[in-house]
Amino acid sequence: MLGEFEYLIVTSAAGLGDKAYGAAIREAIVVATGRNCSIGALYTTIERLEAKGLLTSRMGEATPQRGGRSKRMVRVTGAGVRAAKEFYDAVTRISRGAAWAAD
């Protein structure tokens, strides 16, 4: 099963769709969790998820906002979607009856 941070990355990438790349995923995680997300943790986890076949990545285009440097575009695979669903279902099931889940 996915880890918490892996789930955050897969879900952010799925939500961003064709615009999913390192900085955008990082921003989405920071906004959603209110926690810092280091570049080291992000890229090593993306690499791990790629090795598991849950994500694919390719070099994208360069933009002026990035000083003319390329992006690493990320796409969630079918296996990634299934793994994220499995994690979500497990968290939802275990949260039933919890005081904070009733809100």
Binding site: A23, I39, G40, A41, E47, M59, G67, R69
Partner: protein, 224 residues
């Protein structure tokens, strides 16, 4: 310390996020440290640094000393002859090259750690070397072929079967005469164990040469 594509992506992300110089440096350092740490979750770096470099450097220093003594005997006295020293020298070169090649090919990314693992025993032995008739540098005869082998290991990765199997056979055949030095039986455990420890990299290279080559790694960032 990062691959070209990765450097491009990470710098772009940092510029886009508007990170300051220090925070950007810490972010890059964090990535490098995480990447280096991740490599050590696999067996290859441990085999290269702990399983090969440390024991082989100790044993190869012993073999270097033995060759140096043989050469010294030829010049100083008439008891020794080239016929006993040349096979030893060839064997030392073979052991060193195959050991270096195995270290380089087993874990390319951690070669610097393997190099340190090789140098630490060397420094330890050099600091305690007290034989007046032989220069301490004689302990390091194995270093040149070992460095050459490591460089080839990193560059080539594996050698062809037509070279690897004859090389392993030659190293093994050269081992037998050295097992009989001073009339000691070949089954003498320490000498036998030393020979086995130093010969297995040659057979590892032979075994690797028989495997079907894998597809080249097309990922941007090599983890091996």
């Amino acid at each position: 310390m990062l691959e070209r594509d990765e450097r491009e992506v990470v710098l772009g992300d940092l510029i886009e996020a508007g990170e300051g110089t220090w925070r950007a440096m810490l972010a890059v350092l964090g990535l490098i440290l995480r990447r280096e740490a991740q490599v050590w979750k696999f067996w290859r770096p441990w085999i290269a640094a702990v399983g090969l470099s440390v024991p082989c450097s100790f044993l190869l220093m012993g073999a270097s000393l033995s060759v140096s003594r043989g050469l010294q005997n030829i010049y100083v006295s008439s008891h020794a002859s080239w016929t006993s020293v040349v096979p030893q020298a060839l064997l030392l070169a073979g052991w060193s090259w195959t050991g270096g090649f195995a270290v380089g090919s087993v874990s390319r990314r951690t070669l610097w750690v393997s190099a340190v693992s090789c140098l630490v025993p060397c420094i330890f032995c050099l600091s305690r070397f007290r034989v007046e008739s032989i220069s301490p540098a004689c302990l390091l005869l194995f270093l040149a072929p070992a460095v050459w082998g490591a460089s080839d290991g990193v560059r080539i990765g594996r050698i062809k079967r037509v070279s690897a199997i004859p090389l392993a056979l030659a190293v093994t055949l050269l081992t037998f005469p050295t097992l009989h030095i001073h009339g000691e039986p070949w089954w003498n455990p320490p000498r036998w164990l030393i020979a086995l420890t130093l010969t297995w990299p040659a057979w590892y290279l032979a075994a690797m040469s028989t495997k079907t080559p894998q597809e080249p790694d097309t990922r941007h960032w090599e983890t091996r």
